[in-house]
Symmetry: C2
Subunit: 303 residues, 2 copies
């Protein structure tokens, strides 16, 4: 049975519920926001969690939340870096399907994940994929890389693109449309992101990038509006129906992500792709709903 294309997070959550039960391994789980969301994920029948961290604090939080966490697998390791190492080891050994960051710095868990001998590197690059639902657009937006790779070169952009495409495919989109964003639609030697865009298109032509339709450079309006593209005389197979947006640099991505959330009221979540398992690395500022959506997306991405 072919998966249906998920157009919003309600659909993503429902789709995740139909999947095989998964196990999350949480590093530094002794945090109210983190525990609330993994408790909810368990209640909804999505995933069980192994909680690693300061066991006493976990129980303090559970009592505060009037919740019993005795049916969670809990591993006592108050040292944050050690808890990250333990979590990565457990995922490595196949004990869990998804790695999740609790109350620790992203940079700290990334260092453990990226360790060449004991980490979770796969064959590719790790990259952040933001997923947004905004009222004024008819499909989910996959955006990358707005969180991890600062100024990726062409090779890294190709990997970033493929990771984002893989996430979109995991959410039911058989052949995602990809727009390589820049400030304009013309190739301009003074604007390196337009050269990268042209090269990425040719890489897709040659099969170096797979399972998607790629076009760029495109300004954002041409990617999301067929009328805007036609107005500019742009004939693009992705115009008005772009699923995946590759941003020229992390700053542009971060600003677009925040603009959608704060100016357009978008719902959002994010995961890190490219490691041997999907990673949920939410930040304190993310809402409960956003964190739960990240888990649901990670479940669909998880093999």
């Amino acid at each position: 049975v072919r998966d249906i294309v998920q157009k919003n997070f309600a659909g993503v959550l429902e789709a995740a519920k139909t999947k095989k039960h998964k196990r999350i391994c949480v590093a530094a789980a002794h945090d109210e926001d983190t525990l609330r969301v993994v408790i909810e994920a368990k209640r909804l029948g999505l995933a069980s969690s192994t909680l690693i961290g300061d066991k006493e604090k976990m129980w303090q939080v559970a009592r505060k939340l009037n919740t019993d966490i005795s049916d969670f697998e809990i591993i006592k390791e108050p040292d944050i870096i050690k808890s990250a190492r333990l979590a990565v080891d457990m995922v490595s050994s196949g004990h869990a399907d998804i790695l999740m960051k609790g109350i620790m710095q992203t940079a700290d868990i990334m260092r453990v994940v990226l360790n060449k001998e004991t980490g979770l590197r796969g064959s590719g690059l790790l990259s952040h994929v933001g997923i947004m639902e905004v009222q004024s657009y008819d499909r989910l937006i996959f955006m990358s890389d707005a969180g991890l790779n600062i100024a990726p070169d062409l090779q890294k952009k190709a990997a970033i693109l493929q990771n984002a495409v893989d996430a979109s495919i995991a959410l039911g989109n058989e052949k995602p449309n990809v727009a390589i964003l820049s400030a304009l639609e013309l190739v301009n030697p003074d604007i390196p992101s337009t050269l990268d865009a042209a090269a990425l298109c040719k890489m897709a032509d040659r099969g170096q990038i797979k399972n998607c339709v790629v076009d760029g450079p495109l300004a954002l309006d041409n990617a999301i509006s067929l009328i805007a593209a036609r107005h500019k005389g742009i004939n693009s197979p992705v115009a008005g129906q772009t699923d995946v947006f590759i941003v020229p640099n992390m700053e542009a991505g971060n600003i677009l992500y925040k603009s959608l959330v704060f100016f357009s009221g978008a719902k959002s979540c994010g995961i890190i792709m490219g490691a041997r398992v999907p990673m949920v690395v939410t930040s304190r500022a993310d809402s409960f709903e956003s964190k739960l959506n990240s888990i649901a997306v990670a479940m669909l991405v998880s093999k």
Copy 2:
């Protein structure tokens, strides 16, 4: 009498109406979209226009619009580059207060404007200032540079900042709040825009940038939301009340501008600051309303 701070374009238009009548000089004015907006500007009592270009085509358009343009000063010069030169000469000699581009490439008129001997350069850098009105924010957004300077260095960013601040002041804001946007709020040597941000703040401390309150680096959410800033533990004088947004590069600016217009339904307009007169350089994709707003802003900026 101190000007009131304009919080939306309706106010900007009303304020422009109270100003002394201005004269616009239009290069390559033989274009329906251009003529419609200068006719409306005249009808509203904002500004008269000198129309330079293909006179026959102008009259063709006028007939199509059922309008009489015999009360406009019209100069016949069908050659587009020559019409731009003529327009710049007329502005130079004090015949007009505002330069406007009709149906010609921005690059072509910019070349004429930037000519060191015969152009309109002032002491500073030319930069684009986008002005946006979005329902979810309590004030006008001044954004720069999303259109002209591709990857400005620190010195150029300082000039871009000052130009945008000057535009905000012209719209009644005595001491604008300026956020230097990046992907995060911390100074990070791997992200040059965060270093520029720190340097710009110090330049403001030392009086190298004037008449504004500057803070950065800031992520967009921290600039527009006091709650988001507090959540991150950021204590910033501009958080939640930023007027002027300096983007890290043109791509980020263009993407933010388009995001506001297409995802958030923002009203927008733009002018070019830094020449001896304000310039209205709208694009074909801009709405009638947007072009009229650009004229109104240029009038308020015009000395």
